[in-house]
Symmetry: D2
Subunit: 423 residues, 4 copies
Amino acid sequence: MEGLATRYARVRRQTETLVEPLSAEDCQVQSMPDASPAKWHLAHTSWFFETFVLGGQPFDPSFRFLYNSYYEAIGERQPRAARGLLSRPSLDEVRRYRRSVDDRMLERLGAGLDASTEALVVLGLAHEEQHQELILTDIKHLLGTHPLRPLYRRDEHAESGRGAAPLTFVPQPGGIVTIGHPGPERGGQPFAFDNESPRHQVLLQPHALASRLVTAGEYLAFVRDGGYRRPELWLSDGWGHVRAEGWRGPLYWQFGEGEGAGDAGDAAAVSIYTLGGERPLDPAEPVVHVSYYEADAYSRWAGARLPSEAEWEAVAASAPLSGNLLGSGALHPRAAPLGGPAVGQLFGDAWEWTSSAYSPYPGFRPAAGALGEYNGKFMCNQYVLRGGSCATSRTHIRRTYRNFFQPEKRWQFTGIRLARDPQ
Amino acid sequence: MEGLATRYARVRRQTETLVEPLSAEDCQVQSMPDASPAKWHLAHTSWFFETFVLGGQPFDPSFRFLYNSYYEAIGERQPRAARGLLSRPSLDEVRRYRRSVDDRMLERLGAGLDASTEALVVLGLAHEEQHQELILTDIKHLLGTHPLRPLYRRDEHAESGRGAAPLTFVPQPGGIVTIGHPGPERGGQPFAFDNESPRHQVLLQPHALASRLVTAGEYLAFVRDGGYRRPELWLSDGWGHVRAEGWRGPLYWQFGEGEGAGDAGDAAAVSIYTLGGERPLDPAEPVVHVSYYEADAYSRWAGARLPSEAEWEAVAASAPLSGNLLGSGALHPRAAPLGGPAVGQLFGDAWEWTSSAYSPYPGFRPAAGALGEYNGKFMCNQYVLRGGSCATSRTHIRRTYRNFFQPEKRWQFTGIRLARDPQ
Amino acid sequence: MEGLATRYARVRRQTETLVEPLSAEDCQVQSMPDASPAKWHLAHTSWFFETFVLGGQPFDPSFRFLYNSYYEAIGERQPRAARGLLSRPSLDEVRRYRRSVDDRMLERLGAGLDASTEALVVLGLAHEEQHQELILTDIKHLLGTHPLRPLYRRDEHAESGRGAAPLTFVPQPGGIVTIGHPGPERGGQPFAFDNESPRHQVLLQPHALASRLVTAGEYLAFVRDGGYRRPELWLSDGWGHVRAEGWRGPLYWQFGEGEGAGDAGDAAAVSIYTLGGERPLDPAEPVVHVSYYEADAYSRWAGARLPSEAEWEAVAASAPLSGNLLGSGALHPRAAPLGGPAVGQLFGDAWEWTSSAYSPYPGFRPAAGALGEYNGKFMCNQYVLRGGSCATSRTHIRRTYRNFFQPEKRWQFTGIRLARDPQ
Amino acid sequence: MEGLATRYARVRRQTETLVEPLSAEDCQVQSMPDASPAKWHLAHTSWFFETFVLGGQPFDPSFRFLYNSYYEAIGERQPRAARGLLSRPSLDEVRRYRRSVDDRMLERLGAGLDASTEALVVLGLAHEEQHQELILTDIKHLLGTHPLRPLYRRDEHAESGRGAAPLTFVPQPGGIVTIGHPGPERGGQPFAFDNESPRHQVLLQPHALASRLVTAGEYLAFVRDGGYRRPELWLSDGWGHVRAEGWRGPLYWQFGEGEGAGDAGDAAAVSIYTLGGERPLDPAEPVVHVSYYEADAYSRWAGARLPSEAEWEAVAASAPLSGNLLGSGALHPRAAPLGGPAVGQLFGDAWEWTSSAYSPYPGFRPAAGALGEYNGKFMCNQYVLRGGSCATSRTHIRRTYRNFFQPEKRWQFTGIRLARDPQ
């Protein structure tokens, strides 16, 4: 197994690899309040180790203010929406900061750590892997909303050339299942966030789970059927967003010129923006960059529903933990392979919106101190997503992993898996 | 048992009784987008019967637009935030509208109804009872935020003179419980909204439930302990509201002049606004007009948590369905009686915020047609409240009843019951 | 000449006559922050006399807060945008307030006043006449934006049946002219507001002034020529309003259904809302309810410009002070009479936007004390209007009168007179 | 006299010199909608020459969209508030763009130009000089609002060590004066913007003009006298800004910690941010970065008023055109020299707010075509400023020059000169 110092070096290097295609200017800009500049991600992840592991004399005392994200216990901070205004320190200075933190961390790692410090390092690496995914989705938003749609990196998309494998619904028996992570107190368990604990029992009803993610082609049929013009398909708040934001399709979809304003789907051609640039939509690829509202409306249109997180985890518990994750280099969801498992595509490709509001598990206790702010204080008005995406590290994702976003967000790699009650 | 025509007449009359203390001007004003003018409530509840039961020639065709609340299937409507601009029709005209609808309804009721129409009438009466509660909370907001704090009606509050009964935590065993309403298809069942179905099993962990609601005096101790100045007690979104809105205590609390700006609780005297006017806070009365965020922060401060709706219903299933409801005439929560049941105050006094996000029950199906918009489309970013309040009709509340509001709302009679995990 | 007590009684009665067609509900509502409820106007005008003339024991001490408009020197006040929330005091109570103030005022007037108190009474009456005009424009906004467009009062519009008299440009010589009011210090002068003083000399260039107001028919030609789609005709801020507000024509114009979204003028029929209800546009009537931006854009399209206030006053100095003012009862502008004076329609019909930003005259001094807030503090980002409208009292208007509004406002009776430089 | 090609090369080089202290990241950021990134200024000024002088094949067709500022006649453009999102093209690419434009321009200039093209080049250079000033004020805003207040460049401020020369009011006779620029049609005249024409006569009243700008020390006395807490000193809109923005002094002033929240002036020490960093306020230096509202309130407090632009120009007409302009390198206003002219500091140091709303001169005609949008369409809700600042080129400023900004803006080098009516 990979030693902690090796792992530290690998994860930190991975972050830097992701920003390699970017200029200092690209790394500077914040395209919306939800996103952060890549430079800020580079600094904040280092600040995390410096603040929670290293302590002592800081590299620069002002960084305590500049690179704190949301830890009230640490003190005041640069307002979230103003992260893009920090032209100083420069990217070079932030890189020096990273190197300085790395030197001190590797020295510390070499000297051996007590168990609680080791746990903090492992947490810091998980934290950094989360920011790796955000670096990709944030830069995708910056470039994908730029009027010229510039590339993040060159990419050759080979269309699958085949239709999608037929979507089937695989029956699940229901009954009492056990979900969640045993938690750190059970000794010897690998890392998990506090929000995945305690492990506990849940009672499920019989249901069926879709064999793969919803494809872009299937979603286009929903669009063509007036999906974005029929309020009866939507949650009330979701319909409000459709109207207020003028949604006509998923984020990064572009409809052809010829089509009528009200009828997005009549266009012969739909193009999408990927990190490799603009290209035609591939009907077989999973739909991605949809909000919970869109996932929910689609499922209603399809006569189905979204699965709960317990339904998802019950099946994922015995599935192989592999898929189109960050390591594949695709940086975009891929069509489900033919001849996959009964319920496939559970990991990678796209985070799957569940019907579960993000709430504490029974008996949940946040971590002590400032790090207790990591997860618990966000358990409100968000929905749980499962399974990781094409921008998630293989070493990051778990079967018990609970990601969460507000239901209107679309800039993450978020997709749709359907479930169905017995007919 | 009360016949349907009798019930119809009683419910409709009750609505009019509630607006009796109000002038036409009081009935005209909308104090915020969440609230509606009393005149609008009077008209909308009649529109409901006219649209969904009577059909045929409308009293006035323009009312289809003016008094539609949110039914997309019925068509365009007066924007919600602009209901207070409708100085025409006059209150007198709306009263004529009510009488006309009542005449037609009673004629119809006298002639006998088929089962599905009868179900619609029953739904319309439940709907009207909901608006009765809104009439009271909306007018309380109008008068309670008026610079002169005028009365709704004269009221003599007799302070209990005794301290509150000690709050105890009553252990509950956990296990599989069955909650929810069997639903209309089981024939012979009394009415319930679609969101209470299907009846289904839930697995509970062992826990303990508080014997009564949290009192104003207990809540004041939280305020005095810096409750509104300590971010670690709050959900992140809740803390955002505290800061943005300048919350220092529950809605309608006024702190004395002498106190420092930052320390609301040092004041010897706190006064509150009730429908009977301003008066000193009674420490033994239940705290009311708190948001979910405040209920959650208080419970964290108290080393407890909020109960889930299933935990609540499991206990309420065997509790007597009585309490300080609308019929008591108090229009304000009352101190818990001494020597009550182990877990008391379950019904009436104040709606109890639960930890349960408002989601569909497993297998939920909304009603067909426009009335399917009644509940289902709001199942997002809201929390379930249980038990009814001092403004809820006895004929309206049920053990399976699910009320729901966004977590920042405070103008309803919303209070706090605590729960606790095993220590 | 009319004695002061007689004048007082007449002006006060006039105000009440204007609200006679209105219900208490109509008088309650504030349709936008710029407008005030009629009830508030009734109370505020009485508060003005009570505060600045009567002094002593107030009718109700809370009115000092409730009915102060903007006098910082008097103290805190009900926020402007929240005037419509004051359902208490009732309209009846406000009427009692008016009677009480009237009784005390008439007693005081009977006993004889010193010169400075008399000046305050005269000011108070001018103030009340301003609010009479606001009562009409505010209620027009309330009813004219109501989805049913109800009437203020029944009205028979007899279309002129003739085309408008041809518009001619009447040459004016330029040179030094003297404008403004001599001011109170010159003894024996009739009343004027402080902003009309001092009388002073201005140097004018030769120019020409239009013989009448721009008609609705002429303005419709501008609309038909794409006036609202051509940015080159507009001030930059004005074009911003066209886009943000979706302006397609003057306030209260309704275009027929058949027309394309982009081409308002293709419609055969345009209807307008007047205080007598909706009716077809009369091409010969003056266009009204246009902003400064629209007046300016129209004049550019017409190859002309707006006159300065000095150019206007130089001609108005010798014109008869008569026209379609409040006393005519028309409450709407009328087509210019044939065979009128060379430069006609100077008074009444519609306030005329001038090109003059609202600035102090050279040597301007505001009145002392709180009443110095009446005019001076608003001398910024507004434009001067001249001549009065169909809602202005004959006893109110003067040749030196300076009205002023922000350039985007449209709910007053505001119209257009053109001027031209020598070709 | 400097040839046009030489001048072109000098002005263009000057722009680049100004951004030399800045990194690509500094040049990328837009700190508020009013400001633009330095990179955008570099590109836009080149776009101006390419679009209005060179024509033909563009360097990059997308730049027509990206770098158009507000020319509706040229077409759609990047939204003003989103200029900071353009991380591509890079600063290097924009520099290549500049070089390419320069090569083509110098070739064109070498070949000789017709008169109308020459006029466009001269306009383009004036345009570029305006953007030079904006580069400095925009970068000052970015760095001066950064939490660390980083430097633009190192700077040694030598405090004058002396008090300010006494401020005297120099009487001016009034009478007819001629102001404005003869305009291009009078042949042989040096360049001026269209808004400075036509030259015309204005009638002035006798008055007196202050001998120098108001100093920071004098302004501090206003602050200490409660200037920001006394509504009677302010225009109504200005007071609204004081309250809404929490203004306690000019932009870039920092008050010491010890002072009470309400009493900024009690602090012994006030520091200011300059392009050379933070340093103590020098009482003798001119106050700068005040809005029109503050200039107006100060003048009222001082028993004076602001001069009109005609009053200013009448005196400036015979004053030497020199002062602390961009060429001095100070980049900050300097204390008025002792023994200067009767009315000194007319040019440089700080733009002087006048009491004149920005309006067209009598007979004004905007330039033909797209360039007619340069000045005319902004003649609304702005005030005229005169005299140039420490960031204005000597070759840019003129006695007839009319600068203009909205009355609430503070990020330009804007200061105060007083005027007074005869006592």
